[in-house]
Symmetry: C2
Subunit: 134 residues, 2 copies
DNA sequence: GCTAACGAATTAGCTTGGCTAAAGACTGGG
DNA sequence: CCCAGTCTTTAGCCAAGCTAATTCGTTAGC
């Protein structure tokens, strides 16, 4: 029963992840761009902590995105060791486009539900959010 | 709002996937083992279709798992081109342990919820299941 | 104010796991 | 028996994870 819920969530998320596509970015690169869009400019260390990845891994992903012109590095004015990373305009545009497409896909799935079913999901959202807390 | 739900589910599943058996398997390898546990012995083609990966990718993952003794290949008795892949005892044991850990993790998360919140999740389960349908 | 310790980012080298292209192995229809 | 189609495998590319070690800037102790 509990395990049934767990498996269902896993299956749903799996379907969702497979729905990727859009730009020719991998999920990691997209994840970084989205983190920057949601949380604003951050250091490499903050990014790697949030994405649960080591600093060297994050550094490489950031290199690729920088080479693609989707984000930019800037030295921190307070601490010369740190590097502040932020989206470029192109990066913002790509995140917006991706969000639009994924929302559309999800809305399409939701449209197969009844009003009552949607209300049930709406009620479950805060609980799911609580489960997902760090 | 819709996109909040989508993002929350993704985050929850992401957190869940981090719970796995001690063995140092990547998520893909674990995914293959779980698919075999749930759906039974399958050909390489069936596996790659189900995991939404190309046959060469699946072939390599299967090679690693075979080298670790977690699954075994056998020729199909009906069609010499096909290869039937199935879990070994060690593979079954590893899947069981992973399931045990994930269930325990999830139960732990659920225990922080009130009875009402659990009831809300219970009501949402069939709806989530519907969303997750293929 | 020097120096040693510490912290943040980076580089180097390894591994997994995607992909495409192409080759082998086998089947089945004509 | 051949030929076209199907399934698996090999080869080679690239993204993205890791650890270990390096570089460079900061901070603390003396």
């Amino acid at each position: 029963m509990d395990s049934e819920l767990r498996l269902t969530i896993a299956r749903l998320a799996r379907r969702m992840r497979q729905e990727r596509a859009e730009a020719d970015l991998g999920p990691s690169q997209l994840g970084v761009l989205i983190a920057l869009a949601v949380r604003g400019p951050q250091t490499l260390g903050e990014l790697s902590t949030h994405e649960r990845v080591t600093a060297p891994s994050m550094n490489r992903t950031v290199n690729l995105l920088e080479a693609s012109g989707l984000l930019a590095r800037a030295a921190s004015p307070f601490d010369g060791r740190k590097v502040i990373i932020d989206l470029t305009d192109a990066g913002h545009a790509l995140v917006d486009e991706t969000k639009r497409r994924r929302d559309a896909w999800f809305a399409e799935r939701l449209s197969s539900l009844s009003d009552h079913e949607r209300a049930v999901l709406d009620a479950a959202l805060p609980v799911l959010r609580k489960l997902a807390e760090e």
